[in-house]
């Protein structure tokens, strides 16, 4: 019930917050992530077939392609859910191809899932807090006694979580059970938890799927702010072409596990191979 609500309007952030402007005119040469000739097979099906790409500092890279093209599989390889049979993945200059998922999370690779993977029985606050676990130093015992260092630590994590809640404009849902919330809000919580890890690379798997037009606009605003203000490199998979074209610096198009095109959005839009893959001239299914 919104009885006490005088009007619309978004929540503001802190007064006098310092906004760091990322100089986008700098040459974007240093690669955050390099994927080299990735091959992934499942019992004879080749999901990824010699895929390579590079993500540069502060860049927002979009991966597009028809259903089953292997987009999500690429993300799964990057964050360690799948182990490719061939190829290498370099993150910040380090080979992470053989590392397990939690080790990659510690290195700063975070992911917001396509099919929401939250704890439905917990509150929004605690769900986002769960993203802080990799940064927690105190053990169960110290946390249980909750005194001194443990207390200070929990408070500092809570402060970080509150900043994320403020950033995503979710104050009204802070203490709601995630399972009771609408889909669009759950998607925001999913993003919030990924951000709580303070990632150095963020993987967004269809963050706007199933959202209303308003929610999409909000989500696009958050993604842009992450890139512009925090300079966070991101890989975005999204089916809504207008979103991808508007937001991304660069696009990679995939079909049948292969990269079929790469370049700025305007170029990709006109690429004959991409058009063919989408319209499915020679392909069935």
């Amino acid at each position: 019930m919104t009885v006490l609500q005088p009007g619309g309007g978004r929540k503001r952030a802190t007064p006098g917050r310092i906004v760091i402007r990322v100089e986008r005119s700098l040459p974007l040469i240093d690669a955050v992530l390099t994927v080299e000739r990735l091959v992934l097979r499942f019992a004879g099906i080749t999901a990824i077939d010699g895929f390579s790409c590079t993500l540069r500092t502060g860049e927002l890279l979009g991966i597009i392609g028809p259903n089953g093209a292997g987009k999500t599989s690429v993300l799964n390889c990057i964050n360690g859910f799948y182990h490719p049979q061939e190829g290498r993945i370099l993150f910040a200059g380090r080979d992470i191809t053989r590392l397990p998922p939690h080790a990659r999370a510690r290195l700063g690779i975070a992911r917001a899932f396509q099919n929401i993977a939250l704890y439905p029985g917990m509150t929004v606050l605690n769900n986002i807090m769960s993203g802080r676990i990799i940064h927690m130093r105190c053990g169960v015992l110290a946390g249980g006694i909750y005194w001194g260092r443990a207390e200070r630590e929990v408070l500092s994590h809570r402060a970080r979580v509150e900043e994320i809640i403020d950033f995503l404009e979710m104050e009204e849902y802070r203490n709601h059970r995630v399972g009771d919330l609408p889909y669009g809000v759950q998607k925001k919580v999913e993003l919030g938890r990924a951000l709580a890890m303070e990632p150095r690379l963020l993987l967004l798997d269809e963050p706007m799927a199933g959202m209303s037009a308003d929610e999409k606009t909000d989500m696009a605003r958050f993604v842009l702010e992450l890139r512009e203000v925090r300079g966070l490199p991101m890989i975005l998979i999204e089916h809504d072409m207008s979103v991808v074209m508007d937001l991304c610096d660069r696009l990679v198009a995939m079909d049948y596990g292969k990269k079929i095109a790469e370049g700025p959005p305007g170029e990709i839009q006109r690429d004959a191979g991409v058009i063919k893959a989408y319209l499915g001239e020679e392909h069935t299914a």
Binding site: M1, T2, V3, L4, Q5, P6, G7, G8, G9, R10, K11, R12, A13, T14, P15, G16, R17, V19, R21, A159, E162, E163, I165, D166, E169, E171, E172, R174, R221, E225, E228, V229
Partner: protein, 651 residues
């Protein structure tokens, strides 16, 4: 108080003797920073925590704002507009502008860009303060039309990292500039404060304008401050240690009176919710000691409670019904000044702890000493409802032009059909034409740049309110309706539409009602269903619907409405009975000029806009097909043809 004592009440209560209180807002803030020091002036919820701002800090911010604004070139008599959700920064800025002798003017944050542009240009605004990007975008979009505007100050810079407009400045930079200036010219602030005079215009306040374009009332420091003191004479309990929640628009005179003026005069704590969406929850967390809200807030609370009760199990529902019957019975006796029998008092006491108090707690009213209703009047049924639960709900009567308050109910004499009695230093009389007129030190200086309107409202020191009413033998004011709103039917019978509408709206299913029938043989009404309650009602009965429009014309819903109108008719005098009604396909909305921003009906616009429909109602047609043009934001238009059924009410 006995009836005789009531009759013996003096016609004018003397205003309090002036006891060396500072006579302008900045001077009063300086005194408060001295007298209250580190006590909490504001509390703001941020990052989930209530943060405190002391009186000393309030002064420091106001000082920085004043000097910053002075450095940017704001001078005496200039107008600065303030737009956004309530934040302490708005108060710093308003105080800062008044220090340099400028005039602060709040604008409703949900106003459309068009409506804003008109006001900004009309007032000759030089500076604009925007709370965030949302408001700043509105202003920047139409910036080339706003020739008078020189500076746009934005408090929350979030999302504006690539904005490079030369007129833009952040609030943080403004304060920094102010502090620099202070360092260079340490005496400047004191000089500016000393230059202020009590009869300077302190604020411009939009009047709700139910009939025409909003007008801007000029209120001086003296107008506002005397108001606060005169109100305090009759409500002396307000003081330090009390909690108040500021969540209604800064532009509204009620918020200016409480969060700005009374706050300065009596030093309670003003709390700001985290976001509009969390206001209800934050309100409950604070549990304020008093509140001043327009009728729609109480109407909303009432329907929130009713809906929850409809949702509860049968046992709780029965208990609630009984409790409310007991409460109502006691309240009616009290209102008529009759004694309440001991047995009833006892039952009421038990129900207070078992039923009323838990409900009041849920809606954050459990600590409340008094809740005032202002703006549009609240129907007697609502008064009875809240008083039955033990909430001390009282009516405040007044106009923006008299700084908001001229009458208030007195404790122990709350009779819901009146508007209460004049506060100290205030005279209320009835003109020969039956119009309510008022005189007090708080009567405004006139309308900004509108001498014609001023001449109409201000005559021989009296404020002509535009309300049609009378005084009852005890001196309480009784309001019938706006002078222009009274309906005169074809046979000369007059009717007060507001009275009938309040009765209709009390049912949880009707959101808004507009009674029509001026110059017609009978009365009819246009109804807005309440989507939430009617939607739930339909769901419970397995009635499917897709949209508001669809639901509003469902035969079952129309039957429900007919039954409600019929029930209301049973309580009306025969010539005021509603003969026909129509359920409108949409809700009345301020963006369509059908309601004011404080949610009062704009009858003129409604009559104009729905002329065809109204003709059909009185022609005896059984339905009407409207043609609605929808304009999308990108300029495309589409046409819709909703069909509305017009129903007869017989019996």
């Amino acid at each position: 108080m006995t009836a005789q004592a009531v009759l013996d009440r003096p016609r004018i209560i003397a205003a309090p003797a002036a006891v060396d209180l500072p006579d302008t807002f900045p001077r009063r803030l300086i005194q408060n920073a001295d007298r209250f020091g580190d006590r909490v002036a504001f509390r703001e919820k941020e990052y989930g925590i209530w943060r405190q701002i002391t009186w000393k800090q309030y002064l420091a911010h106001a000082r920085a704002c004043a000097l910053g604004l002075h450095a940017l070139g704001l001078r005496r008599g200039d107008v600065i507009m303030i737009i956004g959700d309530n934040r302490p920064e708005q108060f710093y800025l308003a105080m800062g502008s008044q220090t340099v002798g400028a005039i602060s003017c709040g604008m409703y944050q949900d106003s459309l860009a068009e409506q804003l542009a008109e006001l900004i240009t009309f007032a000759g605004t030089r500076f604009i303060f925007c709370e965030d990007q949302e408001q700043a975008d509105k202003i920047l979009d139409m910036e080339e039309r706003l020739s008078t505007v020189e500076r746009i100050i934005v408090e929350d810079w979030r999302g504006m990292w690539q904005y490079r407009h030369p007129k833009l400045i952040s609030f943080a930079d403004l304060e920094a500039l102010g502090r620099q200036t202070d360092g260079r010219e340490p005496g400047l602030f004191a000089d500016l404060v000393a230059e202020g005079r009590p009869d300077d215009v302190a604020i411009l306040c939009q009047t709700s304008g139910t009939t025409a374009m909003p007008k801007l009332a000029m209120l001086s420091h003296r107008n506002m401050l005397s108001q606060g003191e005169n109100f305090h004479v009759v409500e002396p309990h307000i003081g330090p240690g009390d909690e108040f929640v500021s969540y209604l628009p800064f532009a509204w005179i009620g918020e200016q009176m409480f969060s700005f003026t009374l706050h300065q005069s009596f030093g309670f704590t003003v709390n700001f919710p985290e976001a509009p969406e969390t206001a209800q929850r934050d309100f409950r967390e604070i549990g304020p000691h008093f509140t001043f809200a327009p009728a729609r807030i109480y109407e909303g609370l009432h329907s929130a409670v009713t809906v929850r009760v409809l949702d509860a199990g049968p046992l709780r529902r029965r208990l609630y019904d009984r409790a409310m019957r007991v409460g109502m019975e006691a309240v009616e006796l009290e209102a008529e000044g009759k004694p309440v029998p001991a047995w009833l008092r006892l039952r009421r006491f038990i129900y207070y702890w078992a039923v009323y108090r838990p409900i009041l707690d849920k809606i954050g009213l459990v600590r409340m000493r008094v809740a005032w209703n202002g703006g549009a009047s609240l129907g007697p049924d609502y008064h009875k409802f809240f008083r039955a639960m033990g909430l001390n709900l009282k009516q405040i009567y007044g106009q923006t032009e008299i700084a908001g308050i001229s009458c208030v109910h007195r404790d122990g004499q709350v009779r819901f059909w009146t508007m209460g009695a004049p506060i100290a230093g205030t005279e209320v009389d009835i003109s020969r034409d039956g119009e309510i007129i008022e005189r007090s030190p708080s009567v405004f200086l006139g309308y900004h740049r509108n001498a014609d309107a001023t001449a109409k409202s201000l005559r021989d020191g009296w404020l002509y309110s535009g309300d049609y009413g009378t005084l009852d033998p005890t001196g309480d004011v009784i309001l019938f309706d706006r002078v222009g709103d009274m309906i005169r039917m074809a046979d000369g019978t007059s009717a007060a539409p507001r009275v009938i509408e309040d009765m209709l709206k009390f049912t949880p299913y009707i959101q808004e009602a507009c009674v029509i029938g001026d110059g017609r043989p009978f009365l009819a009404t246009i109804l807005n269903i309440d989507l939430r309650t009617v939607g739930k009602w339909a769901e419970d009965r397995g009635i499917s619907y897709t949209s508001y429009t669809h639901l509003s014309q469902k035969p079952e819903v129309l039957d429900l409405l007919r039954a409600l109108v019929l029930e209301t008719n049973g309580r009306l005098k025969p010539e005021w009975k509603i003969k026909r009604f129509v359920s409108l396909y949409k809700e009345f909305h301020p963006d369509d000029d059908e309601l004011t921003r404080t949610r009062k009906l704009r009858r003129g616009h409604i009559n104009e806009r729905y002329r065809g429909l109204i003709e059909a109602v009185f022609d005896g047609a059984d339905h009407f097909e409207a043609t609605v043009t929808i304009r999308y934001e990108d300029g495309r238009t589409a046409e819709m043809h909703p069909v509305m059924h017009i129903l007869d009410v017989t019996g």
